[in-house]
C-alpha cells in the first residue's frame, strides 16, 4: 500500500505543505497580531479572508480578467479589506477593547455571522474562480514529481510577508509602539502616545493580512461562502499552538499544521483529516501555553 511513497514524492509533498503553510501563516499572523496588541480574539478574521477572496475576484473580473487584473486584485483586494476593517474599528471595536474576552468573542462571532450574510447578499451563492496568470498555471516537475507552479509562487510570497512583518514590528517606530502596547498598554498610554490610533493601525494591519491571505488563496480554491469557517478554526488552532500573540509562533504553528497535513495525506490518505489536529493535541498536551512565549 505504501510502496508508491518515493523520496521525490515526499519532497514534493513537503513543498506543497510548505506553500499551504504560507497562506496559513499570512492569515494567522494577522489574527495573532490583533490578539497580541489588542487582546481581541477576532472570530470575524475568517470573514475578512473570505471577503478578500471575493473582492479579488471582483477586481480581477472588472479589470478584464487578464494578467494585469490578477496583480491588481492581489494588491487592491487586501487594501479594500483593510479599509473595511478601519471602518469597523473606528465605529465598533475601538469602544470595546476594555471589555471582557468573552464579550469580545461573542461580539466578533456576531460580526462574523453578519459579514457572512453580507457576503451572500453582495456576491450571491454562486461559485467563483480566480484564474492565475498563464505563467503560474499548470505544474513543473520537481525531482520528477509534478508540482503546481502557483504553489511555487506562494513559497516566494510567504517569506516576503514574514520579513515585511518583522521589519514593521522591529524596525519602525509604530511597530515598536505596537509591540510595547502588546506588553503593557497602560505604560504606552502613560508616556503620551495616542494608543487609540496605534490600536486602529494594528487592527487594520492584522485585517490586511486576512485580506491578503484570501486574495492569495483564491487561484487555488473555488471562492465560496463558508470558506470563512474553515480558515478561522485553523487560524485559531495555529495561534494557540504557536503561542498567543507571538508572530514566530504563528509561523511555527502554520508550518506544523500545513506540513503535517500534506505529509499525512501522502502516508496515510484514509485518515489524513486527523493529522494536523493530532499535532495540535500533542503540542497542547506537552506545552499548554503554546510552543513559543505567549504575550498573554
Amino acid at each position: 500500500m505504501e510502496s508508491y511513497v518515493t523520496f521525490s514524492g515526499l519532497i514534493s509533498q513537503f513543498l506543497v505543505g510548505l506553500s499551504r503553510a504560507m497562506i496559513l501563516f499570512i492569515v494567522s499572523s494577522g489574527l495573532s497580531f490583533i490578539l497580541g496588541v489588542l487582546r481581541v480574539p477576532n472570530v470575524a478574521h475568517g470573514s475578512l479572508y473570505m471577503i478578500g477572496a471575493f473582492t479579488a475576484h471582483t477586481l480581477a473580473v472588472a479589470a478584464g480578467g487578464g494578467v494585469a487584473g490578477f496583480w491588481l486584485a492581489m494588491v487592491f483586494a487586501p487594501i479594500a479589506v483593510a479599509l473595511i476593517s478601519l471602518v469597523a474599528e473606528r465605529l465598533l471595536f475601538c469602544h470595546l477593547y476594555e471589555r471582557e474576552h468573552l464579550m469580545l468573542l461573542l461580539f466578533t462571532f456576531a460580526l462574523a455571522l453578519i459579514l457572512g450574510d453580507l457576503t451572500k447578499i453582495t456576491w450571491g451563492a454562486d461559485y467563483r474562480s480566480l484564474v492565475a496568470p498563464p505563467f503560474l498555471q499548470g505544474s513543473v516537475p520537481v525531482l520528477g514529481t509534478p508540482f503546481p507552479k502557483y504553489n511555487l509562487f506562494l513559497l516566494a510570497v510567504g517569506p516576503v510577508a514574514a520579513v515585511g512583518l518583522w521589519l514593521f514590528s522591529n524596525k519602525t517606530k509604530i511597530g515598536k509602539i505596537a509591540r510595547a502596547a502588546a506588553v503593557d498598554r497602560e505604560m504606552v498610554g502613560a508616556i503620551g502616545i495616542n494608543v487609540s490610533w496605534v490600536f486602529a493601525l494594528a487592527f487594520v494591519l492584522g485585517c490586511f493580512l486576512a485580506g491578503l491571505g484570501g486574495a492569495l488563496v483564491s487561484p487555488t480554491v473555488s471562492i465560496t461562502l463558508g470558506m470563512d469557517h474553515t480558515i478561522i478554526i485553523e487560524a485559531f488552532l495555529i495561534v494557540t499552538i504557536g503561542g498567543l500573540g507571538n508572530m514566530w509562533g504563528a509561523l511555527a504553528g502554520s508550518l506544523i499544521f500545513g506540513i503535517s497535513q500534506s505529509i499525512g495525506v501522502l502516508l496515510w490518505p484514509q485518515f489524513a483529516i486527523v493529522f494536523p489536529y493530532l499535532a495540535v493535541v500533542v503540542i497542547l498536551t506537552l506545552k499548554p501555553s503554546g510552543l513559543l512565549k505567549s504575550v498573554w
Binding site: 514524492g9 506543497v16 499548470g138 505544474s139 508540482f147 487555488t220 465560496t224 463558508g226 485518515f271 489524513a272
Partner: protein, 409 residues
Amino acid sequence: MKNEQFFSVGRFLVLAGCLLAMLMPAAAEARDIKIGIVDTYSGPAAVFGNDALNGFKLAVNEINQQGVLGGKIVFTTRDEQFKVDIGLNVAKELVLKENVDVLVGTINSGASMAISEAVAKKEKIPFIVWTAKSENITGKAGHRYVFSTAENTAMAGKSAAVAFAKKPYKKFWIAGDDYEYGHAIADAIWRNLKKIKPEVETIGKTWWKPGEPDLIPYLTAIQTAKPDCIIFATGGASMANVLKAIKTTGMENKIPAWIHTATDHSVLKPLGMNAPEGVMGTIQYHYYYPETAANKKFVADFQAAYGNPPGFPAFNAYTTAQLIAEAFRKAGKIDKEKFIDAMEGLKVDTPVGKVEMRACDHQAVYPMFLGTTKISKEFGGAIAADIITLQGNDVMPTCEEIAEARKQK
C-alpha cells in the same frame, strides 16, 4: 342586571353561530397545499439549494395558474446549513408547528436519511428528497413515506461502471468527501465495476472532510501513486474545488478522472475557459441536452425568471412540483395516505420527457447522461461532450434487489 347578563350571553351565542356559519363553507371549500422545504441556503452548497428552489418556484407558479383541488400550492423554506442536526430540527418544526402536508429537500444525504427516519416515518408525513443522492434513501432505508426525485448513487455508480468497463483502466484510486454521499457513491461504482470487470483494483483511498477548501495536497499525493484513473466521490461542497485542483496540479489530460455531476454547469461555469478538459461526469440533466421543445421552453422560462440556465437541482425540483400537483389531483383530496398511493407509479411530463415515480421503491426513473468535459467557445467554458445516454431502468437496481436490501436491514 340579570337581564343584561342574559342579553350578553344571548348575544354571544348569536355571534358564535354567525362565526360558525361563516366557517362552515370555508372548511368544506378547498384549502392550499402546504409544502415545507428543508435545504441548504448558506455555505458552499447554497448554490444548489437556490437552484432547486428556483426550479420549484417556477413550477409552482405554472401549477397555481390552474390550481390544485381548487387551492394553491404554497411553500415555506428552512435553511439546514448542510448540517444533519439542524436539518432534522427544522423538519420537525415544519411538521409540528407549520403543519405542512408534504416535506421536500435536501441536498445533504445524511440530513435526508435522518429526516426520513425520524420525521417522515415517525410522523407519517410524505418526504420527497430532491437533491441528495445516497441510494440508501430509497434503497435499504426506504419506506412508505419517503420518495426521491434525485438520481441516486446506485444509478450514477452503475453508469460510470458501464463506461469504465470499456476503458483499459485497471489501477483505481478513490478519493472523496468523508460523509454519507461520498462513501455511498464510491461503494456504488466499485460494486458495479467489480461485477462487470473483476480484474480492477483500488490502489488507495483518500477521504477529506466535506468542503475541504484546498485539495491540492491531496491531489499531489495521489499523483505520486500513478493510478490509471481516479474516482472522485465528492458532493456539492467540494465539487468545484476538485475541478480547480485538477487544473492547478496539471493532472488534466494526464490521469483520467470521473466525478458524478462534474458536467454540471453551476460547477463548470465559474471556471470559464479554465475548466479542466477530459473529466468524465454523469448527470441526469443538461440545459443544452437533449434539445427538445419542452426542455428549450423550460430553459427559456427559467432564464427569464432567474437570469441563469437551470441546473440539475432545478430540474429535480421542477419535476418534484409536477409530481406533487399531479398526485394530489389524482388523490382527489388533501390526504397524506391517498397522496402516497397516487404517487406510486405516477408519470408526469418533464423537460426531458415522461418521468415515472417507481412504485416499488419510490425512486424517480431518470435517464443518465455520461459526458466528458470539453471547452466550447460558443458556451464560453466547458460543457459535456460525447454524451452517452443510459436508460433509467438499465442503471437502477431492480425491485427485487431493493426488496432484498430492505429485508437485510
